[in-house]
């Protein structure tokens, strides 16, 4: 059966020959994939803008795409690094939050840790409170610690996979993952 859909390498070649509109094939094919990654790492109201940055960066970097890895893997790296840059910019312009956990959040944390919570507590209350507590802790980490913690601790990637996505050494990722996990525990348990 004849397949009319050009493969990624063919589309990249066309774009690099000056056919800008061919890039829309890549955009349509990978927009959901990029959104899936970006959704995990940046706040809801910043997802669209960050995903747009990802595709603009990918377009501008196409001449450097050597085809050693698949286009999808290459795009994943750009996506993760754009999310990391988002936090770097955000952290640069913000004041360090001074507020501590609210009483409700502290109660929630205590219940979870001491296993006093019922099943309904986990099903109904947990989601919102947990997100608030998690955001509280992540906001107090550096952008580097935050990205490593999300990739390794929360998404379960290996050190090598995270290092590849971030463009860091494996040793750097492992050290940061260990330290950021300690910081997270300290932030939550010390409260």
């Amino acid at each position: 059966m004849h397949n009319d859909t050009p493969n990624d390498a063919e589309i990249v070649r066309r774009v690099l020959e000056g056919d800008v509109n061919s890039f829309e094939h890549l955009l349509k094919k990978y927009k959901n994939y990029v959104f899936k990654i970006v959704n995990k790492h940046v706040p809801y109201d910043q997802v669209e803008e960050t995903a747009q940055d990802v595709f603009v960066r990918a377009y501008q970097s196409l001449p450097k795409f050597e085809g050693r890895s698949s286009f999808k893997q290459w795009l994943a790296k750009i996506t993760v690094r754009t999310c990391y840059d988002f936090w770097r910019k955000t952290y640069k312009n913000r004041e360090l939050p001074m507020s501590s956990l609210t009483e409700n959040q502290k109660d929630w944390l205590e219940k979870v840790i001491s296993d006093q919570a019922s099943q309904s507590f986990y099903e109904e209350v947990t989601r919102e409170e947990a997100r608030e507590v998690l955001n509280y802790a992540l906001d107090r980490l550096s952008s580097e610690d935050r990205m490593v913690l999300e990739l390794v601790y929360l998404e379960g990637l290996s050190g090598k996979e995270a290092a590849d996505l971030l463009g860091w050494s494996v040793a750097n990722v492992k050290v940061r993952a260990f330290r950021s996990r300690k910081k997270l525990h300290k932030l939550l348990v010390a409260n």
Partner: protein, 109 residues
């Protein structure tokens, strides 16, 4: 208060659920249009030719004819004029010994 490993594992589980259950934004048609508008405003981009590609087959063969022609002309010239390096060096040394010696000295270093 002292916490045990199991307590922290439970906390991690709950945080993981919260992390993965986050509200997700979806890409719509207006978003796609906006990205393509920005891409079009950047304009076409072209592949860069790395320096080592200058020695690639395509570039070598492009100049092959010219290089062969030059080599042939030089060969004919040398055969016609009877160029002998020893005689040329001897005549240079006899003609201007000081300059020749300095050239050799600095050239050798």
């Amino acid at each position: 208060m002292k916490y045990f490993k199991n307590d922290l594992i439970r906390l991690k589980k709950v945080l993981l659920i919260a992390y993965h259950n986050k509200e997700n934004a979806e890409p719509g048609e207006p978003w796609q249009g906006s990205v393509m508008n920005q891409i079009r405003s950047i304009g076409p981009i072209y592949a860069e030719t790395p320096w080592f590609m200058l020695f690639d087959d395509r570039f070598v063969w492009r100049f092959a004819t010219a290089v062969c022609l030059v080599a042939m002309i030089l060969s004919v010239y040398v055969l016609q004029t009877g160029f002998h390096s020893e005689y040329e060096l001897a005549s240079l040394f006899l003609g201007n010994p000081l300059e020749f010696t300095l050239t050799q000295y600095f050239g050798a270093n």
